[in-house]
């Protein structure tokens, strides 16, 4: 019953007026958002009693939640923006001002720009790998008819809910100088001495891919499920081989879901915190740890500015991708 509302949402996605939604960086928080916004719930026309029964009832029902989000989310973001225009004076902490010097500092300093571009690069790379690795699993999950399907889906969802720190710990065990991977490499005679894999960009990439894969898989799975299997059969009976079927039938039909999954994983990659901190070590910096570090140092204006840059960058990239896609595939 619950599923009825969720399934097939992707079909509506391209026709919806705004770009695909922008999800959270925080663990499970973003799950399922990639499904696209809900189309207006197909509620029946209001009954007499409701038309008379007024907006007061409606307001009473939705008012508290709306107030909490407005006061608890939009006001803080406005304050964050205001803080980013303040000045930081050592010892006085924050001095009220209206200046863009925090933003100028960020975009003119080679170190911060380096952090920015590293983050974009890592996020892009991880997204591509997630798409390549995720598609087969998503397809198998979507097309399985056995009773193991639910178990398989749970196996994909569990790591996602367990949180990034725990999964990073798993990779720390595997990739350490005395970990399983080095043990195997030495055992097979590939290397003489342990390879230092921890605290490298490679380790961070391996970790982020594992963190983001479930999101990609679940997004793709739902869109593939919404594609009628008979179109695949039609392609095969017309003489297509599996690769042609994929290229000419499955890929174009799944494109809205692919876009949603790509956008979601990219944003998660951009905003990754625990994975770069634990697997990248103190030297390797990405945007989210940079924000936390600046706030810890007490430089709130600069921390707020970096935070804002991070949010706006992800929003703009997402909106652009969503908009271009919409234009191209408007039905």
């Amino acid at each position: 019953m619950v599923g009825q509302g969720v399934q097939g949402l992707n079909r509506g996605e391209l026709t919806s007026p705004a770009p695909a939604p922008v999800p959270a960086g925080a663990g499970a928080g973003a799950l399922g958002l990639a499904r696209g916004r809900r189309k207006a719930a197909r509620a029946p026309a209001p009954t007499l009693d409701e038309r008379g029964g007024s907006g007061i009832a409606a307001a009473a029902l939705i008012g508290p939640a709306t107030f909490i989000i407005l006061a608890g989310l939009l006001v803080p973001i406005a304050i964050l923006f205001r803080y980013s225009l303040n000045k930081f004076v050592p010892r006085l902490m924050m001095v009220e001002a209206v200046t863009i010097e925090n933003y100028v500092k960020f975009f003119s300093d080679a170190y911060y720009l380096g952090v920015f571009f590293t983050t974009v690069k890592v996020a892009l790379f991880c997204t591509v790998v997630c798409l390549v690795l995720g598609f087969p699993l998503a397809y198998v999950l979507a097309r399985t008819r056995t009773r193991f399907k639910n178990v398989l889906v749970m196996l994909v969802v569990l790591p996602l809910f367990v949180g990034n720190a725990v999964r990073a710990a798993g990779w720390m065990t595997l990739l350490g100088s005395k970990g399983v991977v080095n043990f195997a490499l030495i055992g097979f005679g590939f290397v003489e001495a342990p390879v230092e894999m921890m605290f490298t960009e490679g380790a961070v990439i391996v970790g982020i891919i594992a963190v983001n894969l479930p999101f990609m898989v679940l997004t793709l799975q739902s869109v593939i499920e919404s594609i009628d299997r008979s179109v695949e059969e039609a392609a095969f009976s017309l003489g297509a081989d599996p690769w042609q079927m994929f290229r000419r039938v499955l890929w174009p039909l799944a494109l809205p879901g692919i876009a949603a999954g790509v956008i979601l994983t990219f944003i998660l990659g951009m905003n990754a915190y625990a994975t770069p901190v634990l697997l990248g070590g103190p030297e390797f910096k990405m945007m989210a740890p940079l924000v936390y570090g600046q706030m810890q140092l007490g430089n709130w204006p600069f921390g707020a500015a970096v935070s804002f840059v991070l949010m706006v960058t992800t929003l703009v990239l997402t909106a652009t991708a969503g908009y271009r896609l919409q234009k191209r595939y408007r039905r």
């Binding site: 663990g27 928080g29 709306t66 803080p76 889906v153 569990l158 479930p214 915190y273 924000v291």
Partner: protein, 278 residues
């Protein structure tokens, strides 16, 4: 000739299907690998995480009980999760009912607004709430920065979208005539809600509650900015320990978290099939 082609085609499909399954299996292993390795580490006998282990032991699980940091973290996370979920249900279920039942201008915008906390990156949300708490503390003079109330209100934010989403989904296939029938038979609104509406949307409410709980319980990025000195949630306690070192005791704590969340999922699954709601 044509039958030969057909055979060849079938063959390509079989090969394709097996390649696909193998690739899918590899991806699944990749996703699960860190969980398997951390579970394995929790049973090592020695403290240094070097492979192969010298032997196996359960003592790291026993040592959790004595570690106040993790026990306190676990308790705080559980309390937060339960409180945030309860509050989230109290405001989220009515909001979903309103969105499903009433047509009014700006309804779609309101729907998007309620889902917005999921769209703001965790670190940004944390920074924004921190600045907000600073301002609120200056304005009111009350101790808000690092307070449990501040932390709870942050968690309430990330919980609401889950409740709204899942309850709304369960209302989409709802047959309104049942409610009208009840009212025709003399039930008032509250009775109708309790006896007809609530049982019908219960799977959505349960799923929403569990997703909400898990989202709150596992939240790391936002909470980092909101916890006070000496008081941390379990994910933060794990992260801070891992920044220092990795050993089987932290692995055991991680396994406890995995088991708790896995258990919550299994319970949810009894009400709604997980594969249909995620």
């Amino acid at each position: 000739m044509s039958s030969g082609l057909a055979a060849l085609r079938l063959d390509a499909r079989t090969v394709g299907s097996w390649t696909l399954k193998a690739a899918a299996g590899l991806t699944l292993c990749y996703i699960l690998l860190p969980l398997v390795s951390i579970t394995w580490l929790s049973f090592y006998r020695q403290e240094i995480p070097s492979f192969p282990p010298e032997g196996y032991s359960l003592r790291w699980y026993a040592s959790i009980v004595g570690n106040a940091r993790f026990v306190d973290g676990l308790l705080l996370s559980l309390q937060l999760g339960v409180a945030a979920t309860a509050l989230g249900l109290a405001v989220g279920v009515p909001a979903a009912l309103c969105l499903a039942r009433f047509r009014f201008p700006g309804r779609e915008a309101l729907n998007n607004l309620l889902l917005m906390p999921l769209m703001v990156p965790g670190v940004v949300l944390g920074t924004a709430l921190y600045c907000f708490h600073v301002e609120a503390e200056i304005a009111t003079g009350l101790p808000i920065i690092g307070s449990t109330i501040g932390l709870l209100s942050g968690h309430l934010l990330i919980v609401i979208p889950w409740v709204v989403r899942l309850v709304l989904a369960s209302l989409a296939g709802f047959d309104r005539t049942l409610e009208e029938a009840a009212q025709n038979l003399g039930a008032n609104r509250w009775t109708t809600f309790r006896r007809i509406t609530l049982p019908m949307i219960l799977p959505g409410v349960v799923a929403g509650a569990l997703f909400a709980f898990v989202a709150s319980f596992g939240n790391l990025e936002m909470s980092l900015f909101l916890v006070g000195p000496g008081r941390t949630t379990l994910p933060i306690a794990i992260l801070q320990y891992l920044e220092w070192k990795i050993d089987p005791s932290i692995a055991a704590v991680s396994v406890v978290q995995i088991v708790l969340i896995g258990g919550a999922m299994l319970i949810t699954d009894r009400f709604v099939k997980i594969s249909r709601v995620v």
